[in-house]
Symmetry: C2
Subunit: 212 residues, 2 copies
DNA sequence: ACCTGAACACCGTTCAAGT
DNA sequence: ACCTGAACACCGTTCAAGT
């Protein structure tokens, strides 16, 4: 981790307290390095590690140095969320059964969310991602729905329903159980439940004729 | 608003800066007054008004005075969320069609969530309420499911699915649209969509035979 | 038991420098 | 353009008093 330029100060950089650079000296930071640091902070310290000040400390810069590479904290979080969606491989919207295509895209999205449990509360708080990757996935789903004869408002409603469902389920799967009884549900049971409820919704979206 | 004891200082109480009481003097605060103040703060200033310090300022007390009536901020928020569920009138779990009963309970819950849009992000963040009211509603749903022959893990899965669905939809209905295209969905269209997707899920939960 | 004063250890963000 | 120093306006929470 922390690859890239600006490595000459070596280890111990993140732990110290004093100033190593005078104003005007560069730290060799880039937007990508900031995002990589944010990921590492999230992995190591969880959501609390993702404050601007703690991230700056980890990167060995002054807190306000981050604002040269990121508009504000929301910008940082949005970039993190959208980047993560790069891990979701969407099937070709023009080939195969459209309903199976949507199921694939949603299951992969769900799997990626579960693979990044600390990000899930952020997806929840922002109700999804807004970046180019999220848009691309949304367009793929709309293309698949169109092949099933679903367009316009019903198509928008369908994608919204499915995204809500995936994020909501991920939140429950990664969070602490609400009631003691819920702890009896294993991760596998939850995954099955997601798959099942997903197909229920798709049954309804497809208009009552299940198709498989 | 702000009914109850401790009114003798009158208007202007919340705006001033100086200390009106020396240590040892009481402000006449109660847990209920703190919760009422929290509701008013939420209604007036939104989620940002719900900091301990701002709430204390509104109530005319020192920030730490709140800790005599509330364990911490989470305790305050939890009480707020559970109290609001008092507005959800649950039908008698023993009477009428069980599926219709669940639909009623979920639609009323959804309506109450929409009636308190500022609380929705908090329900989302905490993935529901945990207090006695939430437990009572959950038990009512389990009783209805039992009458439909659904018990044990499947019943817990069903309630979880339905609650995720309601909170997720409320979050999307009350929040800003994620993509420009979504803004075309009117509140009424969203409400219809919730009702429809709810019945899709219930179709699935009921085992594929829609029952109505 | 209920409240204040003061403090601790934080936040995000901005503004004015420096090179 | 990229960074630091310093500051502003906040947070939640705790501890030691006072009555």
């Amino acid at each position: 981790m922390a690859s890239g330029p600006g490595e000459r100060r070596g280890a111990g950089e993140a732990g110290g307290a004093g100033a190593r650079r005078t104003p005007g000296q560069r730290a060799g930071l880039t937007r990508e390095a900031v995002l990589a640091g944010a990921r590492a902070a999230l992995a190591q310290d969880g959501i609390e590690g993702l404050s601007m000040r703690r991230l700056a400390r980890r990167l060995g810069v002054a807190p306000n140095a981050l604002y040269s590479h990121v508009a504000d904290r929301d910008d940082l979080v949005d970039a993190l969320l959208d980047d993560t969606l790069n891990e979701v491989r969407a099937p070709d919207p023009r080939r195969g059964d459209w309903r199976a295509g949507i199921e694939t895209i949603m299951r992969r999205t769900y799997a990626v969310l579960l693979a990044h449990p600390d990000l899930v509360p952020l997806y929840v708080a922002r109700r999804g991602a807004r970046g180019p990757r999220a848009v691309a996935l949304g367009e793929a789903m709309l293309a698949m729905l169109a092949r099933g004869g679903i367009e316009g408002d019903p198509a928008v409603e369908a994608t919204r329903t499915l995204i809500v469902h995936a994020i909501g389920f991920a939140a429950f799967a990664t969070g602490a159980p609400l009631q003691p009884a819920e702890s009896t549900l294993t991760p596998k049971a939850l995954q099955d439940l997601f798959a099942r409820s997903l197909s229920w919704l798709l049954d309804g979206i497809a208009g009552g004729h299940p198709m498989r």
